[in-house]
Amino acid sequence: MTPPLAWYLGLSAVLFAIGVLGVLIRRNVIVIFMAIELMLNAVNLSFVALARSLGSMDGQVIVFFVMTVAAAEAAVGLAIILSMFRNRETTNADELATLKW
């Protein structure tokens, strides 16, 4: 007997909420970035569970694309953090508020 689809979707929802929480409460941009990765993975779990439930490979193909985009996003984002740190000597989101009104 396998766990029902709803359990996977529920776990995915909880992981997504934890990711949102991380973005809201952490002030270190690198940890905020990790929380974003957590959200992407929560959605991946939904995709794979629904692909299995519908008997269609499309969900798994989309997970493949999500991983690629996440890799590109991580590379560019971390490069931005690096150059930001070089200029401002900080990774704290509260101190990087030049564009704030």
């Binding site: 499309d58 590109a72 704290n92 509260d94």
Partner: protein
Amino acid sequence: MSPLLFLLLAALTVASALTVVVHQNPVHSACALVLTLCLLAVFFLGLDAQLVALLQVIVYAGAIVVLFLFVIMLLNLQVEARAMAGTLLVGTAAVGGVALAVLIVTALRRAAPPAGRGVPAGFGETAALARQLFTVYLLPFELTSLLLLVAIVGAVALAKKPS
């Protein structure tokens, strides 16, 4: 995957995901992220997604988190005094996070569950995934290579020391 094993793994996954979010030390956060990603790979295996599980471990836990750790090392980040936002914001965010989870679960319960159609033979194997990828999704697949190229050039241009 038996329901008991699912519950056990789900509890572990949620615990390590919470560790990523609340731990003060970014290095420990990254290590907890590796654990979360590997546990998700186990779920993928249980859902007949062998190739996706493998890619999850190699690409995510292997490459992306190593990139994170590398940047943390490069910036020499320590445990910070003010890692978290203010208490008021943390409390509000916690309530909001729980509300969001409840909202998503409720919405999912109200939505009509998709009819289970059973799994065709060879489901989740590399051949099946590759067939979809190189026929139906050929254009997005090729565009992906362009995206990665742009990301490589962008990352090098951004991280390069200004001459």
